[in-house]
C-alpha cells in the first residue's frame, strides 16, 4: 500500500482542477435475480473541493447509497468512486479504514458520540485512533474549531450533559479534527429542532467558507439544502438535477419537477420533516 497517498491534503492548497470526490458509472445492486433492486444506476458525478454540496432526493432515490459508496462505507456492485486520486472502490477493508481515519470525516444524524468520553476526548478520538499525538498544530486547529463551533465552555462535559445541537457541533468538530479531504454529513439536522438545525447548518457552511473544508451532505430538507453551494438531485438511482447557489425555493422547485416525473405522485412525497428514509 502506498502510504503517501493517504497523507491528508493540507488546507485548501489542492489544485482547483481535480474534484474532491468523483463517481464514475457507480452502480449498487441489492438482491438477486428477479428481486434485484438497482439502488444506484451508473451514477457519474463530481464534487468540487472547498464546496458545500447537498445531495437531495425522495425516499429510496439512492442518495444515502451514493454517500455510503463515496465514503467507503459500503462496496459498489460496479463502477468507480474516487476520493482525490484514490479509487476507493478498489480498496480493502483495512485500507478503507485508514482512508476514513485520515481523509474522510463523518457527521451522523444521531450524533454518535461515545458516552463515556468528554466532548474534547470525543473530538480528538480520530487522532488517537490513528495513533498520533495531539501536537501543537492539532491543538491550534482544535482551538480554532472549538471557537468556530462555540464549544469553549463545553469541552469537559460528557455527551449526556449536552443538548442535541451541542452534541452535533462536537460531532462536526470530531469530523474536522483530522483535516479530512471531505466530510460526509448524513441528515445532520434530522434529530434537531429547527433553531439548533439552523445553527449546525451555518457552522457547516462556515467550515467550508472560513476553514476551507469540503462537505457533502445528504438531506431531505429543502431548507437545509439551501445552505449548500450546490444541490444534486437524485431519483431512481440516477442524477436527476443539479442546482447551483440554491435557495429553498429553487430546491423545492427542483423537487417538484422530480415529482412530476414519478409515476405515483403520492410516493416519494418529501419536504416534510417526518419523512421516512430508505
Amino acid at each position: 500500500m502506498d502510504t503517501t497517498v493517504y497523507q491528508p491534503i493540507p488546507g485548501t492548497a489542492a489544485s482547483p482542477g481535480t474534484p474532491a470526490v468523483r463517481a464514475r458509472s457507480l452502480t449498487k445492486l441489492y438482491g438477486k435475480g428477479e428481486a434485484t433492486v438497482r439502488a444506484l444506476d451508473g451514477v457519474d458525478v463530481d464534487f468540487e473541493k472547498g464546496a458545500f454540496t447537498a445531495i437531495m432526493g425522495p425516499s429510496g432515490s439512492g442518495k444515502s447509497t451514493l454517500m455510503h459508496l463515496l465514503a467507503g462505507l459500503d462496496t459498489a456492485s460496479s463502477g468507480q468512486g474516487f476520493i482525490g486520486d484514490t479509487e476507493i472502490t478498489a480498496l480493502g477493508d483495512n485500507e478503507l479504514t485508514r482512508l476514513r481515519r485520515d481523509r474522510v470525516g463523518f457527521v451522523f444524524q444521531s450524533f454518535n458520540l461515545l458516552p463515556m468520553f468528554t466532548a474534547e476526548q470525543n473530538i480528538t478520538l480520530p487522532i488517537e485512533l490513528a495513533g498520533r499525538k495531539v501536537d501543537a498544530e492539532t491543538k491550534e486547529w482544535l482551538a480554532t474549531l472549538v471557537q468556530t463551533l462555540g464549544l469553549g465552555a463545553r469541552l469537559t462535559h460528557r455527551p449526556s450533559e449536552l443538548s442535541g445541537g451541542q452534541q452535533q457541533r462536537v460531532a462536526i468538530a470530531r469530523a474536522l479534527i483530522a483535516k479530512p479531504e471531505v466530510v460526509f454529513a448524513d441528515e445532520p439536522t434530522g434529530n434537531l429542532d429547527s433553531r439548533s438545525g439552523a445553527e449546525v447548518l451555518s457552522f457547516l457552511r462556515r467550515s467550508v467558507r472560513e476553514l476551507g473544508r469540503t462537505i457533502i451532505m445528504v438531506t431531505h430538507d429543502p431548507t437545509a439544502a439551501a445552505y449548500a453551494d450546490r444541490v444534486i438531485l437524485i431519483a431512481d438511482g440516477r442524477i436527476a438535477g443539479d442546482i447551483d447557489d440554491p435557495t429553498p425555493e429553487s430546491v423545492l422547485a427542483g423537487l417538484d419537477a422530480l415529482r412530476t416525473l414519478e409515476s405515483d405522485p403520492a410516493d416519494g412525497l418529501t419536504g416534510t420533516t417526518t419523512a421516512v428514509r430508505a
Binding site: L73, D74, R100, F108, Q109, R277
Partner: protein, 924 residues
C-alpha cells in the same frame, strides 16, 4: 403474556443460551456427583455381595459366632455346607520382595468360592497357598515356587518385652525362639513401599489382641512359614478389590495360625458371619428360622443380598461424606452460575426497556411484567437443567465406558443407572437457582416507566442503584467476619486449633460474603484504577478501559463471579503451600539429614545388636537419580556411666567432614572430632548432659557372643541441635571403643529436597531388591509422604473449583457479547471514524482481560489472605507457621484468567468486527 414471553425469549435466544450454559454446567456437575455417589454405593454393595459368592444365607451375630455355633449351623437340617467368613493379613516374602496380603480360607463348597482359578488348584492341605495372579507376578512366583509367610505367634515366657518403641514386635528381647535377625520383620514396617499395613489392620482386628496389662507372661514372635504356591486366582467380581485381592490358604493352616495368634485364654475365635449353602430342595425360610432358633441370642439370618446391602450401608457412611464434600463444590458452581444468570437477565431487561415501556403504555401492569421475566427464568432454568442433567448422565456414562476399557480390578456397571433423585434434585435446584437469580431483574422490569417508550432510545444503562442497606450489610459482614478471622488466628496460636479453625472458617465465610455483597461499591473503582494505568498504552486500551466503567454493576457482577472461584483456588493453594513450608521447617528440625538408611533403625536406644549394612546397598543408593551423596555410618551399642548407672546408647561413627556436607543444620555436627562426642539435644535434656561434660563410652555387652573388644574412651560432650537418639563420634573413636563395628546405616543427601516426592520412592524401590529389611527414614521420606497427600487433595479441590471458574469465564464471554450487541451503533461509529477491525477486536480483548484480570488479581489477594489466616489458625499447634505465597499457582491462575478473558472476547469480537460502518448511520 405467555406468548409474549416466548416471543421475547426467541428474540434473545443467543443471550439466553449463553446464560443457560452456566446453569447447564452447574446441574451437570450436580447430576454427575449424585450419579457417581450411586455408583460408588453400588460397587461397594456388589463387591461385598461378591464375597458371599453363591451362598444362600448369611448368619451374623453381634458378638460373633464361635466354632460351636458354626457346628450348630452345619448340623441344621437343610444346610449342605457352611463356612465362616474369615479375612486375615500376613506378610509374604519372596526373595527380596515383600508385601502384605489378605488371605481367606479355602471354601468347603464351591458355592462359597468368590474367586476363580487362573491356573493350578486351590490349596487342599497344609503348606499350600493360592495367590491373586498379579500378586504372584509381583513377587516373581510361579506355580510350585516357595513363598514365606510371616505370622505372629504367642510365645510364653519371653517376658522382657520391648521397651520404648511400643511395637508388639520382638526386637527388644531376642530369645531362644527368635529366628535369625535377618528373618525378623518389624510388624509395622511400611518401608517396603507397598504401604500394605492398612489392609492388615482393617482385615484382621483379631490380631490386635496384643498383650494387655494382665496378660500371661509372653510375647508375640514373628515366625516364618514356608508355603508352596499351588494356584493363581482371578477376582472377576471384585470381592476383595478393596483390600487389594485375597490369597487362599488351606483351612487347616488358617485355623491353626488363627489359634496361635491369640494370647491363651484372652480371646477365642469368633466369626463375624457364616455363609450357608442349602441342600437341594431345602426351604430357605424353614432353614432360616431353624438356624435363628438354634443359635438364639442376637443371631440374624439374612439372605446374601440382604446382608450385602446391610454391610454396604454401614460402610458407605464414610463415602457419603465424600459425596457431601463434592456437593459443596457443586453448590459453589451453582452460586457462580446464579451470578451469571442474574447478570444476563439484568441486561436483557435493560435492553428491553422500550418494549417493556410500550407494554406498560398499552396496559400491562407491573405484576405482569415481573411475571413475564420470572416465567422466562423458569423456562430457561428448566430447559438448561434438563440439558445439564442429560449432559451429566452422558459424562458419567462416558467415564464408565472409558473405565470399563481399562482394567481397574473393580467391576463397574456398564450402564449408568439413573435414579429419580439424581434427576429431580438437579432439575429443582437448577430451576430454583435461575428463578432466584432473576428476582432482582424482574423487579427492575417493574420499575420501567411507560414514559420510557417515548424517549429516544439511548444505549441501555443500569443505574448503579446500590443502596445504603447493601453497604451496611456488607460492612457489618466484612468487619465482623474479619474480627472472627483474627480471633480464629489468635485461638489457633494459643493451641486450640479446632476452635480457631472454626472461628476462622466462619469469619472467612462471613467476610467473603460481605466483600461479594459490597463488590459493587469498590470493584468498579479498582477496575477504573487499573484502566487508568492501561490508558497510557494507547487509544484502544483507553476505549476498553472506558467501556468497563460504563456499567459498574455489570462489571462488578462479572468480576465477582470469577472472584469467587479464584479466591477459593488461591486460598487452597496458599493454605497447602503454607502447610507444606511449615511442615518442612518442622521436619528439618526433627531430622538431621534428608534420608537415613539403617538396619537398626528401630532401636536408637542401643538395645539391639547392630546388623551390618552391605556395601552394595550404599552403592545402590548412590545410583538412584536425585541422590547427591551417601555417607556410611558405623554403629555399636555403648554404655555411658551417668550418675552411677550404666545407660545403653547407640553410638554412630561418622566422618566429620562428610557429615558436614550432608546435615541440614551445620551446627548439628559442629566440633565433631576425635575426642568429642555429639549428644543430640533431646538426649542431653533427658539425661542432664551439657556441653563440656566428660563422658566415658564403653562397648556394651553383646547379647549373644560374650564380651566386646575395645577400650573405653573418655570424650568431651557437645550438645548440638542434632535430631534422633544416637550419640555421634568419629569412626576411629568408635572403632577404638568397640573393635570391628560394622557399617549399619547411611545418610543420604538429595540433590534437591523438594524432589523428595519422586526420589524417595525411587530409593525405596531400589532398596527393596535387597534381602535385608532396610528402614528408610528422614525428613525427605515424610516430606514425600505428606507432599503426595497434600498435592492429591489440592489437585482434587482445585479441579472441583475449576468448574466454578469455567462458569465464571462463560459469564465474562456473556457480558462481552451483550456489550457488543448493545454497542452496535457505537462500534459502527468507531469503524466509520477510523477504528480498524483488528483494533475493535483488540478493544474487546482488553476489556475481557481487564474484567477477568481484575477478578483474578483480587481473588488471588483475598485467597492468599484467607489461606494465611486459615494456615495460622490450623497449623499453629505444630509450631511456627510459615506463610508462603504459591507463586507458581498464582501465576497460573493469572495466566488462565487473562487467556480466558482474551478467548472470551473472540466470538463477541468477531461479531463486533462484522458490524458494518454503515450501521452508524442507521436510525432505529
Amino acid at each position: 403474556m405467555v406468548r409474549l414471553t416466548l416471543a421475547q425469549m426467541r428474540r434473545s435466544i443467543g443471550r439466553l443460551s449463553a446464560a443457560g450454559i452456566a446453569i447447564l454446567i452447574g446441574t451437570a456437575f450436580l447430576t454427575a456427583t449424585l450419579l457417581a455417589g450411586n455408583i460408588i454405593n453400588r460397587v461397594t454393595t456388589d463387591s461385598i455381595a461378591a464375597q458371599f459368592a453363591d451362598s444362600d444365607l448369611v448368619v451374623s451375630n453381634g458378638p460373633g459366632i464361635d466354632p460351636a455355633g458354626l457346628e450348630d449351623i452345619r448340623g441344621t437340617e437343610g444346610v449342605e455346607a457352611a463356612d465362616p467368613q474369615v479375612l486375615r493379613a500376613f506378610e509374604l516374602v519372596s526373595g527380596g520382595k515383600r508385601t502384605y496380603q489378605v488371605v481367606v480360607p479355602a471354601a468347603s463348597d464351591p458355592r462359597f468360592e468368590a474367586q476363580e482359578l487362573v491356573e493350578g488348584a486351590m490349596p487342599t492341605r497344609s503348606g499350600e497357598i493360592a495367590l491373586p495372579s498379579d500378586v504372584a507376578e509381583r513377587l516373581g512366583l510361579g506355580l510350585g515356587d516357595p513363598v514365606t509367610v510371616v505370622r505372629s505367634v504367642w510365645t510364653p515366657g519371653a517376658e522382657d518385652a520391648a521397651a520404648g518403641t511400643g511395637t508388639t514386635a520382638d526386637e527388644g528381647a531376642p530369645s531362644e525362639e527368635a529366628v535369625a535377625p535377618e528373618e525378623t520383620a518389624p510388624a509395622d514396617a511400611t518401608a517396603d513401599g507397598d504401604g500394605a499395613s492398612a489392609p492388615a489392620e482393617e482385615a484382621a482386628p483379631g490380631d490386635e489382641a496384643a498383650p494387655g496389662d494382665e496378660s500371661p507372661a509372653g510375647t508375640f514372635v514373628d515366625t516364618n512359614e514356608k508355603l508352596t504356591l499351588v494356584g493363581t486366582l482371578d477376582d472377576p467380581m471384585g470381592a476383595y478389590a478393596q483390600v487389594g485381592g485375597a490369597g487362599v490358604l488351606s483351612n487347616d493352616d488358617l485355623t491353626t495360625w488363627e489359634a496361635d495368634s491369640y494370647v491363651p485364654g484372652e480371646a477365642t475365635t469368633a466369626y463375624n458371619a457364616v455363609l450357608v449353602a442349602l441342600a437341594p430342595g431345602a426351604d430357605l425360610e424353614a432353614v432360616r428360622s431353624s438356624i435363628t432358633s438354634s443359635l438364639g441370642g442376637d443371631a440374624k439370618v439374612w439372605t446374601s443380598a440382604e446382608y450385602a446391602k446391610e454391610q454396604a450401608a454401614q460402610m458407605t457412611g464414610g463415602e457419603d461424606v465424600f459425596t457431601y464434600v463434592i456437593l459443596t463444590f457443586a453448590a459453589i458452581a451453582l452460586l457462580v452460575a446464579a451470578l451469571v444468570i442474574a447478570n444476563t437477565f439484568q441486561v436483557l431487561v435493560a435492553q428491553r426497556t422500550r418494549t417493556l415501556a410500550l407494554l406498560r403504555c398499552v396496559g400491562a401492569d407491573r405484576k405482569q411484567l415481573s411475571r413475564s421475566v420470572l416465567l422466562e427464568a423458569i423456562i430457561l432454568g428448566l430447559v438448561a437443567s434438563v440439558a445439564g442433567i442429560l449432559f451429566g448422565i452422558g459424562l458419567v456414562q462416558l467415564a464408565l465406558t472409558v473405565a470399563g476399557t481399562m482394567d481397574l480390578g473393580i467391576p463397574l456397571p456398564p450402564v449408568v443407572q439413573v435414579t429419580a433423585v439424581a434427576v429431580l434434585v438437579p432439575l429443582l435446584v437448577g430451576t430454583v437457582v435461575t428463578l432466584v437469580a432473576s428476582f432482582s431483574p424482574a423487579r427492575a422490569a417493574t420499575r420501567v416507566a411507560p414514559l420510557a417508550a417515548l424517549r429516544p432510545s439511548d444505549a441501555p444503562t443500569l443505574t448503579s442503584g446500590a443502596g445504603r442497606v447493601r453497604l451496611a450489610i456488607s460492612s457489618i459482614l466484612v468487619v465482623g467476619g474479619a474480627g472472627l478471622l483474627v480471633l480464629g488466628v489468635l485461638l489457633g496460636q494459643q493451641g486450640s486449633a479446632q476452635a480457631g479453625l472454626l472461628a476462622a472458617t466462619a469469619g472467612g465465610a462471613a467476610s467473603f460474603v460481605g466483600i461479594l455483597v459490597g463488590a459493587i461499591f469498590w470493584l468498579p473503582k479498582v477496575v477504573s484504577l487499573v484502566g487508568k494505568v492501561l490508558t497510557g498504552s494507547g487509544s484502544t486500551a483507553k476505549l476498553a478501559a472506558a467501556n468497563t466503567l460504563r456499567n459498574p454493576r455489570r462489571t462488578a457482577a462479572t468480576s465477582t463471579a470469577l472472584l469467587i472461584g479464584v479466591t477459593l483456588v488461591a486460598m487452597m493453594s496458599t493454605g497447602a503451600v503454607s502447610a507444606r513450608m511449615s511442615m518442612n521447617n518442622e521436619l528439618d528440625g526433627r531430622y538431621p539429614v534428608d534420608v537415613s538408611l539403617a538396619t537398626d533403625g528401630y532401636d536408637e536406644f542401643g538395645g539391639n545388636q547392630p546388623v551390618a549394612l552391605p556395601q552394595s546397598t550404599i552403592g545402590t543408593a548412590e545410583k538412584v537419580d536425585g541422590v547427591e551423596s551417601v555417607v556410611p555410618l558405623t554403629a555399636t551399642s555403648v554404655t555411658v556411666d551417668l550418675d552411677g548407672s550404666d545407660i545403653t546408647f547407640l553410638a554412630r561413627g561418622v566422618d566429620p567432614e562428610a557429615a558436614g556436607t550432608l546435615v541440614r543444620d551445620k551446627e548439628a555436627v559442629q566440633g565433631l572430632a576425635p575426642g568429642t562426642v555429639v549428644v543430640p539435644a533431646g538426649v542431653a535434656k533427658d539425661w542432664g548432659i551439657s556441653s563440656g561434660d566428660q563422658l566415658v563410652l564403653a562397648a556394651a555387652p553383646l547379647p549373644d557372643d560374650g564380651d566386646p573388644q575395645g577400650t573405653p574412651a573418655t570424650l568431651e560432650a557437645l550438645v548440638t541441635p542434632m535430631g534422633g537418639r544416637a550419640l555421634l563420634v568419629t569412626p576411629q573413636t568408635l572403632e577404638g571403643v568397640a573393635t570391628g563395628t560394622p557399617v549399619t546405616s547411611a545418610w543420604v543427601g538429595l540433590a534437591d529436597v523438594n524432589d523428595a516426592a519422586s526420589v524417595v520412592p525411587a530409593l525405596q524401590d531400589a532398596l527393596a531388591e535387597s534381602d535385608l529389611p532396610i528402614d528408610v527414614t528422614g525428613a525427605a521420606v515424610e516430606r514425600a509422604m505428606y507432599q503426595k497427600v497434600v498435592d492429591t487433595i489440592l489437585g482434587v479441590i482445585v479441579g472441583l473449583l475449576a468448574v466454578a471458574v469455567v462458569i465464571a469465564l462463560i459469564g465474562v464471554a456473556n457480558t462481552l457479547s451483550l456489550s457488543v450487541i448493545e454497542r452496535r451503533r457505537e462500534s459502527a461509529t468507531l469503524r466509520a471514524i477510523g477504528l480498524s477491525r483488528s483494533q475493535l477486536r483488540w478493544m474487546l480483548a482488553i476489556e475481557g482481560m481487564l474484567i477477568a484480570g481484575v477478578g483474578a488479581v483480587l481473588g488471588i489477594l483475598l485467597g492468599i489472605l484467607y489461606g494465611w489466616a486459615g494456615a495460622s489458625a490450623a497449623l499453629a499447634v505444630m509450631g511456627d507457621v510459615t506463610l508462603a505465597v504459591p507463586w507458581r499457582d498464582v501465576a497460573l491462575v493469572m495466566v488462565v484468567a487473562l487467556v480466558a478473558g482474551l478467548l472470551a472476547s473472540v466470538i463477541p469480537g468477531r461479531s463486533a468486527a462484522r458490524t458494518s460502518p454503515v450501521e452508524a448511520l442507521a436510525v432505529d
